[in-house]
Amino acid sequence: MSKMNKLYFKTKSHIVKRDDITWWKAWIIRVIAVLLAMVVCGIVTVFLTDLNPIEMYITMAEGALGTTRLVWNLIQNTAILLCVSLAVTPAFKMKFWNIGAEGQVLIGGLATAACMIFLGEKLPTPLLMLVMVITSVVSGALWALVPAFFKTRFNSNETLFTLMMNYVAIQIVAYYTLEWSMPKGSGTPRTLEYGQLPVLFGQKYLINILIVLVLTIVAYIYLKYSKQGYEISVVGESENTARYIGINVKKVVLRTMAISGAVCGIAGFLLVAGTDHSLKSDTAGGRGFTAIMVSWLAKFNPIFMILTSLLIVFLQKGASKISEVYRLNSSFSDIITGIIIFFIIGSEFFINYKIKFNKKEENK
């Protein structure tokens, strides 16, 4: 009979979901994660390059914050990334995996550039601005509505669909970049003279930053205090509950994706009219994907996203600086950024779960 009492626990530990965690404990875990990440990065640095890791971190900080120009640059990049992150957030909150922000931004930028090229000389500046904003918002929204339509109509997979739409958008923009290049066909993107966003207080990027700041507050209020924001949460949490209380799920999906695409369109508008004054197929610069991380890290809270987008841009800028100073190729900075983000995302696991060690059970 002793055989029957044999226990089948073979693992030494198992994972338990935490009920709740106080906010300060959560932050301690996050800080520990960042410190650990820096230690690991230091080890990797010494191992691969024989550099002094502390010097490297100083160089990194200098690369992101060294001069006033760099600081403005950092904030401007943060603002654009934040804008795209705000765009994907409603969709993700609804559990609609919009991986297509990259394409939606590009299409918004394409619409802006088209207005600047074809209407630039014809319309007075304020009217031109208005037309640019409207076309970029509408085209971004329409681009995002395509996968949403197929999802609601045929239950197609939105992840693949939005992802594929990126490649279509990139190629369309690549085509027009060549078409519009100066001289034509040379591939050098044309500098768009008309319809550039105004320079406020002598700061080129200030208007971008202000627009995104306003958007952040609007997004926060929309998600937390509006009826539509509430519907997004309900649909995301449980489609069954949404049906039960009479929410038209399809309508909410379409509307939310249109909003998501529209905000991406604004990001495209800011990039083309406010920052680059030109259009290239890499104008979006991978922000459509990075934004997903920013949004998740901030748990879909627009205010927290200011912090997470700042962190990520800081890492990117700092890391590219070390590549430059120490004449390493850019892969090294990617390694450092990757390690740090890995630790930060990993820390969320320890915030949600704890590890319990099983006591040793003796087999008879």
């Binding site: 029957m4 009826k227 539509q228 949460s233 069954n240 509950t241 038209n248």
Partner: protein, 516 residues
């Protein structure tokens, strides 16, 4: 019968006990099944039938007790072990790869073969299908198959691996009557060729028409085994439901009885053409609690969802008599929003509390808003009223929670249910539907819910109560409608009925329609 007795015992369980935490799923269960015999395991929902068989199939491991296969004491720690002792189980939810063919699924995971010989396998599969009278095309893909064909694949999969003891968990639950007949024919053929077959079921007529012996479980305990030839429906029912227990639930007399909701001949089919609701007609009266009794999955869910606007129907009508305006509205195929806009005050406490009635990750206040957030023209949410409603419900129903801003998923089952019922009642309904509202609740919370339902009844609400505990149904309700396989099996007056009467109606399929 004689030769059955002589035959060797294929599988024997002795004193099997299994607990999950503090819940005892099986307590000292002993069973025997012989070669060439069909044994039914009969019991209500949650009586531990599936748990018991999962231990034989290697899914769970018993806390104590012994299992003998072919006369040898065995230890079954995994499904692989089960196959070694020639035991095959066909689960309720099939485990097949959709994009593979039947034959590919059947041979999937075979290791001992030297060469992968598909034509040879197909020959072997064809031999099995011919021997027992299955109908199956080995080259058909799973996603092209009906539920019944998928079940056939599962059975052949077990036979292909040499199973001599076959366990089928509720095999007829997903089948049409014609398919059930076919399945039974096949099972009888297998029995003839000496296989031992165990079917888990709660359908009495199937037990009586198919099996040689019946083992009955009730609330995890083994009640006994009887020979099918020497028993009848009422004996089996009594073994299954047990003696009446008095609960002392208060029940007031029905007052101001008027027709509130008239459900007329509604039909509803699943995608596979199985009838979920078949010609269901009844009337719910104001000031009355109408109980719905039946084995789980007999169409209760579809019925309530059809009324609530979540399930489209193939036929029939659902007429609502508006007490304020006196108008009659047909609720069939309307959405929940349309129903509300028609001025129908319908409250619905669904079976799936956190998956449908509430949002687990939202706090109590936001859950209160689910019903009312649309009110008013503002684009912004009004949290003031929901907040005071939340606080009122917490106080009145004694909900144990740190605060009104605690996510409901962190509350205990009873408190979750109080929040849900409290919210539904707050809308001053004229019809209140509650599906299994006391499932998983402790005694005190259960009585709170009974009292709330009684209060609504006194206010003149038409209450529809879907329950599983017959003692509760008999003491709480005024009338009980019994439903079986999507059909109405009959109506009884709850004040003059017995558990046996309802039990027999629940498990029998012939309908006798006469409303009390």
């Amino acid at each position: 019968m004689e030769n059955v007795m002589e035959q060797k015992i294929a599988l024997e369980l002795r004193n099997i006990t299994k607990t999950f935490g503090s819940v005892v799923a099986n307590k000292n269960v002993s069973l025997k099944v012989r070669k060439g015999e069909i044994l039914s395991i009969l019991g209500e929902n949650g009586s531990g039938k599936t748990t018991l068989m999962n231990m034989v199939a290697g899914i769970y491991f018993p806390d104590s007790g012994q299992i003998f296969a072919d006369g040898q004491e065995v230890e079954i720690a995994s499904p692989k072990d089960a196959f070694r002792y020639k035991i095959g189980m066909i689960h309720q939810h099939f485990k097949l790869v959709d994009v593979f063919t039947a034959a590919e699924n059947i041979v999937l995971g075979l290791k001992d073969e030297k060469r992968f010989d598909m034509p040879g396998y197909i020959e072997k599969i064809k031999a099995i299908t011919e021997q027992y009278g299955f109908e199956l095309d080995p080259n058909k893909k799973i996603y092209e198959m009906s539920v019944s064909e998928k079940q056939t694949v599962e059975i052949i999969k077990a036979l292909f691996r040499g199973a001599d003891i076959l366990i089928l968990d509720e095999p007829t639950a997903v089948l049409t009557p014609q398919e059930t007949v076919k399945l039974f024919r096949v099972l009888r053929n297998m029995k003839e060729s000496g296989k031992a077959i165990i079917i888990i079921t709660h359908k009495l007529h199937e037990v009586l028409s198919l099996s040689d012996n019946v083992a009955v479980l009730r609330k995890g305990e083994y009640i006994g085994t009887v020979k099918t030839a020497e028993t009848n429906e009422s004996e089996l029912t009594e073994m299954m439901v047990g003696k009446k227990i008095s609960l002392n639930i208060e029940r007031s007399e029905v007052e101001n009885r008027t027709e509130r909701l008239i459900v007329d001949k509604i039909d509803c089919n699943s995608r596979d053409g199985v009838k979920l609701l078949d010609d269901v007609s009844f009337t719910a009266y104001s000031g009355e609690i109408l109980g719905i009794a039946g084995i789980a999955g007999s169409g209760q869910r579809e019925l309530l969802e059809a009324i609530a606007g979540l399930q489209n129907l193939d036929d029939g009508s659902i007429i609502y008599n508006n007490p304020k305006t006196g108008t009659k509205e047909n609720l069939r195929d309307k959405t929940p929003l349309e129903i509300r806009q028609m001025g129908v005050r319908l409250a619905f406490v669904p079976e799936d509390r956190l998956g449908m009635g509430l949002v687990g990750n939202m706090d109590i206040v936001d859950n209160m808003m689910l019903r009312s957030y649309k009110k008013g023209k503002s684009v912004f949410l009004q949290r003031k009223q929901p907040k005071s409603l939340a606080e009122e419900i917490i106080e009145k129903l004694e909900v144990v929670t740190p605060s009104a801003s605690t996510p409901v998923r962190r509350l205990s089952g009873g408190n979750v249910q109080k929040i849900l019922v409290g919210r539904e009642i707050a809308s001053a309904p004229t019809v209140l539907m509650a599906a299994y509202p006391v499932r998983g609740l402790d005694i005190n919370s259960s009585y709170t819910i009974y009292n709330l339902l009684n209060e609504q009844k006194k206010k003149g609400v038409a209450v529809i109560f879907v329950g599983e505990d017959l003692d509760v149904l008999i003491e709480l309700c005024d009338r009980i409608m019994v439903i079986g396989s999507g059909k109405i099996a009959g109506f009884v007056d709850a004040r003059n009925t017995t558990k046996e009467e309802i039990g027999i109606m629940m498990t029998k399929s012939e309908p006798h329609n006469s409303e009390v």
